[in-house]
Amino acid sequence: MKQCPLFTLLVLIATLPSFAESPPIIAPSAWEKSVLRIEVARKAYDYYQPWNRRNDRAMKTGIVVGERQILATAQDLSDQTLVRVQKNGRGKWTTARVEWIDYHANLALLTAEDAAFWSDLRPANLSGKPPGEGAQLQIVRWREGKLENRQAEFTQFTVRESEGSAINHVQMELDSEIHDAGSGEPVVADLRIAGITFSQRGRACRVIPVSFIRSVLEAHKSGNQRGLGYFHFYWQPAENPASLAQLQLIGEPRGVLVIDVPERLDGSAPVLKPHDIILQIDGFDVDMQGDYTDPEFGPLTLENLSTRGKWAGDDVKMKIWRDGKPLDVTYRLPGYDFQNSLVPIAVRDQPPDYLIVGGLVFQPLTTPYLQRWGAEWERTAPFRLNYYRSDEATKTKPSLVILSQVLPDKFNIGYQEYRSFVVNQVNGQRVTSLTELQAALKQPKDSFHVIDFVPNESLQRIVLAAGEAERQATQRILQRFGITDAVQITSKTVAAK
């Protein structure tokens, strides 16, 4: 699924056949009936005080793509409470709803019930092809009541993680003078949609290409609910001939070296082993840098072969080199679920989980929790908590629970300063989720709760009174701090032990 961090030169510039003939400049009016504004009201959560929520608002761009269907990126649509759409860049807002959303593909379809809304709208043409090197495109959006049409120059195709997910798929990069794009604005060429933007940094705009969009939408239309799959193994380039010689590869240097194959939580046997050489995937030769030549996009990193018309549960044929000889294997793509990571990178459409006992606040360790340390959270959040992100979930350690803070009260006196400790055991029972914590708290030891943390240099154990004293303290603390519920658990239990 991921390339090794040591090797960073794997995302290559596509060198597609150059057919960069200048497209006709499209008059803005050509898109007026297809491009919409979307307003999203959503709940935003404070992971430091997970019982709090506030209202948030986001503006996006959508495109009419079919019978009463609006295409948008999935970003900012999670935890939404009200979605409205507006045509012509001004005037009346119409209530809409999210009909389908795929956070890993970063795509969503919206619709509106009001028939009148659709009367003068026209679906955009999604049959665009990948642009060639240096091709000129336009980014279109409504701005201050006018349709803005900005030039953009195609720079490259890359394979990177989807915005807000860890799924790799092909993406397009553009260079443009536009400001504040990345909210689903259509990128158009030759009266067709070439993609939709999902981020902008400086002049570089990143775009989901239309062929990927088509592929995902067609799968959705055909009832495929399995979602995108991914390669759950790590590899490194095979540029060192001595390494290939050590692995007894015969012939020209080629392929990539498998270095780590994490345990699969579904219990299925690992297909690959460390020190296998992957030579071919689905018939495509893999070169020493880990690229294959995509018929549509040119050289791309092999991760794209896990999402190129493939879905979770699909089989991928691989030719590998193992123990000095070639071998054909079938790799079944696992499905991606945020909850399957030891430290989930996102939590969607649910409030943060927490459990308060005697003023001690326990939470699952998640990336949104770490992000509360601000823009520089990867540097400023507690190192040990951050470093768990590099660990894989396993059957015995599918997730982590932390003591995130202590709400001060006479009941927990002496513990007020404690925070950011990872829970190991509670009352002698191993705890990896709030559900397990809840169960362990039902079995106090001699009228006490004994909470053991993962060994560290500060504190390894806390003891609380159990029973009525704890219940009264918890109620008192909830009341004093204005918290409605002592427990909020909406995540599913991750893995069976």
Binding site: L6, F7, Q236, I259, H275, I413, Q460, A465
Partner: protein, 483 residues
């Protein structure tokens, strides 16, 4: 825990108007020409740098100063009060853990007319003391008066991983005054040693209990180090926890949270013991003892004696009090977690691959102190693994520091700064294992595996052996190893 905010610098107090004696005659200006190693290219040293400090004459024709004033010294030059003549000095003893050093001067006439300063007691808070020294900004001696504002255990930034008794004053801090005496009633009550950047009006000095312990330690001509408890001690104020341990709720006793392996406490203390008394000091529930009128963390009770001493303790265990003896020892297992001085880093070069020990110094020098992947692995290996996975702890974690370019390694994807996991299938516990793996290898190719993800590179063994001398010569490395 890794980035101490306290930085070493000099303390310098304003003018002392008059004294019965003239301590300034015994205050020495120290100029050090130092050269510290490049931890990433450990056969190499950085350019020579000059730095200034202070010291003072003590009994036995010796000069006391800070360890950080003379660490990595190539040459130490002393100048007496109002005397232009330079004198060469040598380090007789250096104690990096408590930041003290003793210098001697070959020419004993240096001490003619210089009275040895005598040591006093720990000064009381709110009293005033004067620091003498040669801070930056001028050539003449300088005096600053400050109020003793706080006495507690604080981090000693020179070593980086010790908390010892410290006195805080409201004096201004200036570089160059380190090692100067702090004088009260004609006696030395401290050695100025550090300040906190950005915190004006706070200077720190090393108090007499630490100095006297150091002087006693070196009486046998060897410095052993400040002994430590060998256990993590935490406050015990929660009534439920005290009740579970059947301990009276009387504000006495701190809890043993964890016990370090291979220390004098290992077989004496255990988690959830409660320390009621350490030596003569009753321990309060907040983990402090009352020491000469100051509430300080109880670990002090283990730090006052010498390594190997037996410290009597009163414990609360299994519902009743009992007596025990803890043998306190100066720990050396954690030296890589702190800053290291005066010892050239260990390394081994083979086929252009530079292997060295993972240490706090290496991480700082190689810019690997952040949270990105390599730094994360280094951080975890150095500071967390021994606590979380003691059975997997390596004696001397080894990093591939750099790859000196040569055709034999030109195709390596990594250029270094990675943790070495295995070589030819053997887990690398220390640099000696690296040397053994390569020198005893009969493989055509040597396989080196890195980090937690298992990236690896192979090296043609025969070609690497052939290339070795040429690589060493090309890069100006006189020896392929330093152990």
């Amino acid at each position: 825990m890794f980035l101490k905010t306290v930085s070493v610098c000099a303390v310098f107090f304003a003018t002392a108007l008059c004294f019965a004696i003239e301590p300034e005659r015994s205050v020495i200006q120290i100029q050090t020409y130092r050269q510290s190693p490049d931890w990433s290219a450990p056969w190499r040293f950085d350019a020579v740098q000059r730095s200034g400090g202070s010291g003072f004459v003590i009994r036995g024709k010796r000069i006391m100063t800070n360890a950080h004033v003379v660490s990595w010294a190539r040459q130490i030059i002393l100048r007496k009060y109002q005397d232009a003549k330079p004198h060469i000095a040598q380090v007789e003893f250096v104690a990096h853990d408590c930041d003290l050093a003793i210098l001697t001067v070959e020419d004993e006439s240096f001490f003619d007319g210089l009275p040895a300063l005598e040591f006093g007691e720990l000064p009381p808070v709110r009293s005033t003391a004067v620091t003498y020294g040669y801070p930056a900004g001028g050539e003449e001696i300088s005096y600053t008066r400050g109020v003793v504002s706080r006495i507690e255990l604080s981090p000693y930034s020179h070593i980086g991983n010790r908390r010892l008794l410290t006195v805080q004053t409201d004096a201004v801090i200036n570089p160059g005054n380190s090692g100067g005496p702090v004088i009260q009633d004609d006696r030395v009550v401290g050695v100025a040693f550090q300040g906190i950047p950005g915190l004006e009006g706070a200077g720190f000095f090393i108090p007499p209990p630490v100095i006297q312990r150091f002087l006693k330690d070196i009486e046998d001509k060897r410095y052993d180090g400040v002994p430590l408890a060998g256990a993590g001690i935490t406050p015990l104020q929660n009534p439920a926890y005290r009740a579970r341990l059947k301990l009276p709720n009387n504000n006495l006793g701190a809890r043993v949270d964890r016990v370090r392996s291979r220390t004098g406490a290992t077989n004496v203390l255990r988690a959830d013991d409660v320390l009621l008394k350490i030596g003569e000091f009753p321990v309060a529930s907040d983990g402090t003892v009352l020491y000469q009128g100051n509430r300080v963390f109880c670990a002090l009770g283990f730090q006052l004696g010498q390594s190997g001493d037996s410290v009597p303790v009163q414990l609360w265990r299994d519902g009743h009090a009992q007596d025990a003896q803890v043998t306190v020892e100066a720990e050396t297992d954690d030296q890589r977690e702190g800053n290291q001085y005066d010892v050239q880093p260990r390394y081994f070069v083979f086929g252009g691959l530079v292997f060295t020990s993972l240490s706090r110094d290496y991480m700082r020098d190689s810019g690997r102190e952040g949270a990105e992947t390599a730094a994360g692995e280094f951080n975890y290996e150095l500071f967390f693994r021994s606590r979380e996975e003691p059975e997997m702890t390596r004696e001397e974690p080894v990093v591939l520091s750099s790859v000196l370019s040569d055709p034999v390694n030109a195709n390596f994807s990594t250029r270094g700064r990675v943790l070495v996991d295995r070589i030819n299938g053997i887990r690398i516990e220390k640099i000696a294992d690296v040397i053994c793996a390569f020198t005893t290898s009969t493989n055509t190719h040597d396989m080196i595996e890195f980090g937690k993800r298992g990236t690896f590179e192979c090296l043609d063994h025969a070609e690497a052996v052939r290339a070795n001398d040429k690589i060493l010569k090309t890069y100006g490395i006189s020896q392929d190893r330093h152990l």
